[in-house]
Amino acid sequence: MTLLRHASAAIVAAVIIGAASGALSPFRNFQLAEVAVYVVAIAGLTVLIGLSGQISLGHGAFMAIGAYVAALTVTHLAWPAWAVLPASAAAAAVAGAPVGVAAARLRGPYLAGATLMLAVALPSLADKYPGVLGGDQGLSVAITVPPGLGASFPLTRWQAWVCVAAALITLVALANLGRSRVGRNWRAVRDDEVAAALAGLNVGRLRVLAFVVSAACAGLAGAMLAITTTLVSPGSFTVSLSIALLTGAIIGGLGSLAGAVWGALIIVLLPTYITNLATSHGLSTALAANIPIAAYGIVLIAVMLLFPGGIQAGLRRLARPAMPLLARLRPVRLLRSLPMSSHDLRRHPPGSEHQEEGTI
């Protein structure tokens, strides 16, 4: 039933976006594809952090793996998009497994440090093997519109369709996973590992699984990015990309898939919007160039001050008074019957304790 509901919601969204993309300019279609890329990457990360309680500063590296797999399979094997995307996700998942095993043994800053190292080191492999991976110049990804759609079909619209479809499928899959036994077990591990272990859960395996799922999402996003920009180069997968993903997940609301959509929208659209606004008000280009960076910081601070749980939690809080009946009907969650530790309180400041569980 859940699957059916999520799938039908995704189909409705696909129809709306598909219809809208026909009316959009090529640049807006390009942005739509970009947003879809970030939705997938942030959704994977938000599941990892919000549900399983692990952090990663290295998801840019998994995106790089997905992107290079996409470039290589398109160039050498001429695979179509429907085969390239799952293959890239699978490759990143395979790479994510050993990292996940290591990550399951690390906590807090150590885990952050280990994953950060991955983000720094991995993209420079391309410089090490310029013959296969194209070095600094990168590899181009020859994407063409399928002939069935006609010769005049804009490439950017096709790219947007592919990316939006992949993003919706990912969201449905993650929403179902979060609602499944696995998702409930992740939350149990996140909230109290000792209690979860006492309840018979295999904590280590669950943490590794979360990491693999999350890496697969990042790999898929990397392949989508390759399809959108038609070029894969190490310069696109810097540490700042990994940080941007984390920022997106936090702004949107950790653990919330709708929050991932908000985070992606802010990361992609805010800089362009602010630059346009600044230049159209007659500011010099040099000044206008610095405004998005400042605006980004201000938005981050404002969101954290106003909605500590992220945009999605904030919206939910604003909507709550309008739905008193539903609020009263809300059943008591299994996990809240578990004893709350001080650890738990630290992670969830009072007032934000509902933030993660609802959406997934």
């Binding site: 859940t2 509901r5 999520h6 919601a9 995704a10 409705v12 969204a13 709306i16 976006i17 809208a20 993309s21 009316a23 959009l24 300019s25 090529p26 640049f27 807006r28 390009f30 942005q31 739509l32 970009e34 947003v35 410089d127 600094d136 110049q137 990168g138 950017t156 919706l168 969201l171 929403a175 609602r179 920009t229 038609t230 070029l231 180069s233 310069g235 696109s236 810097t238 898939l257 709708a258 959509v261 908000w262 929208l265 659209l269 362009t272 630059t275 280009t285 040099a286 206008a288 160039a289 610095n290 919206l315 939910r316 539903l326 009907l329 809300r330 059943p331 969650r333 609802g358 959406t359």
Partner: protein
């Protein structure tokens, strides 16, 4: 739980739909460009305007120095606009910040081409950044003229017919520097210090064509993201390199100089043109020393650095080109220092105006490309351009000079060469025409 879930999941649809509507609402505004009737011969061209775009590092690691280039180009365009424009059309130059980050370059260039409908991309700055959009520009048939980078990769007319270089490519530059060092430092131990990407590797390739391999005692590279060059400088010192040839951006030329100062190492330094602008180096040296809690005389440290130049020397105030660009700078861009970056920006803008005038009264994207393929007159550069249908490299020669005061004092005549190992480095026999009195090509 089910009940709550039923309420929540539609938030996803709501968000998706909101995205679609938002995008649709924003999308409406961009369609109405180019309503200039018969005069609109191509995208970005109206009866009164030519719209061109660029990606530039206005923030980030490459911004010091390089962020002056686009405003300087714009200053020259304003001068042209004030003197009749190009067949009556005024140039509008939109340059967006990419922070020297290739993924941002992709985004801003898509915006310029797909949303703003620019006629051409002009002087896009940086090798890794511009490589990220070269495919897109060529497959979209958008002229990609005078890339601000000396990578040999812009010269690929078969696969990238829309892309043209402008400044001397790093292979030619390496050869000209290498030939000078071979001649003047025979028997000395030579070390290389270079950026580990196309820029540094192309430069080293050119150097190796000229300098005997047995003379090179150490080859050290850096990546722009790691500002600790201590190990590299120590290795050069340990190898006993008496002359160090550096293919570095200004920030790393400054870091090399400061680090070698700290290690008590003082080799003769030869730096490629992109990393040797004296005023930029002076500022960087002082800023870096200040960060470390020390004060240095930046200008004094740069004196005697060997470098090459493909535009007239800023110190040559009697040169008609310098006089013209100084005049334009003082009128339209006076806030910036009149340094090598400003000279670069104005000179490349002059070349663009030359090309647009050749492209005809009703220019199209194809006519601009054809005009450059037919060759351009030399203009402000000291050596001729290589432009032809089969060669998209830019300036083919340079002179060697040393930093004296805040300018480069030429020491040799202008040399020209090709990009292959066998093409000789020869003295250029022609001479540079003076700048036109009107300041217009």
């Amino acid at each position: 739980m089910n009940r709550r879930h039923r309420v929540r999941f539609p938030a996803l649809i709501a968000a998706s739909a909101a995205l679609a509507l938002l995008a649709a609402a924003c999308g409406g505004g961009s369609a109405g460009g180019g309503g200039g009737g018969a005069a609109a011969s191509a995208p970005g061209i109206t009866a009164h305007q030519i719209l061109i775009g660029s990606h530039q590092p206005l923030t980030g690691p490459a911004a010091p120095g390089y962020s002056e280039i686009a405003p300087a180009s714009n200053a020259y365009f304003q001068y042209v606009n004030a003197h009749g424009g190009i067949y009556g059309r005024k140039i509008k130059y939109t340059y967006l910040d990419d922070g020297y980050d290739p993924s941002k370059t992709v985004s801003v260039v898509h915006q310029l081409v797909l949303q703003d409908n620019v006629f051409a991309i002009f002087d896009g700055l940086g090798t890794p950044t511009h490589l990220a959009v070269m495919n897109f520009l060529n497959s979209s048939k958008v002229p990609d003229v005078f890339v601000a980078s000396g990578c040999a990769c812009w010269n690929n007319p078969a696969q990238a017919p829309e892309t043209f270089g402008w400044q001397i490519d790093y292979i030619r530059e390496g050869k000209i520097l290498g030939a000078y060092i071979k001649k003047h430092f025979a028997g000395k131990k030579i070390g290389y210090f270079y950026q580990n990407d196309e820029f540094g590797q192309d430069g080293v390739k050119g150097l190796d064509y000229e300098i005997p391999k047995s003379q090179v005692v150490s080859r050290q590279s850096y990546v722009p993201t790691n500002t600790n060059v201590g190990p590299q400088v120590a290795a050069l010192k340990a190898a006993g390199a008496q002359v160090v040839v550096s293919f570095s951006i200004p920030a790393f030329t400054a870091l090399f100089k400061l680090t070698s100062l700290k290690l008590g190492y003082n080799p003769t330094l030869a730096v490629s043109n992109v990393g040797s602008d004296p005023l930029t180096l002076d500022g960087l040296l002082q800023a870096f020393a200040k960060q470390a809690g020390k004060a240095v005389n930046g200008a004094a440290l740069t004196q005697g650095i060997i470098t090459d130049g493909y535009l007239p020397s800023l110190g040559d105030t009697g040169n008609s080109w310098i006089a013209l660009f100084k005049k334009v700078h003082d009128t339209y861009d006076a806030k910036a220092p009149f340094d090598g970056n400003v000279l670069y920006g104005e000179a490349v803008a002059y070349t663009f105006v030359q090309a647009m005038l050749k492209a005809g009264k009703n220019p199209t994207r194809a006519s601009l490309v054809n005009a450059i393929n037919a060759g351009l007159p030399q203009g402000p550069s000291v050596a001729p351009y290589a432009f032809s249908a089969t060669d998209h490299a830019g300036i083919t020669g340079a002179y060697i000079g040393v930093i004296k005061g805040s300018a480069i004092a030429p020491k040799t005549p202008v040399y020209v060469t090709g990009t292959s190992a066998t093409s000789p480095v020869t003295v250029y026999s022609g001479s540079q025409e003076p700048a036109p009195g009107s300041g217009m090509p």
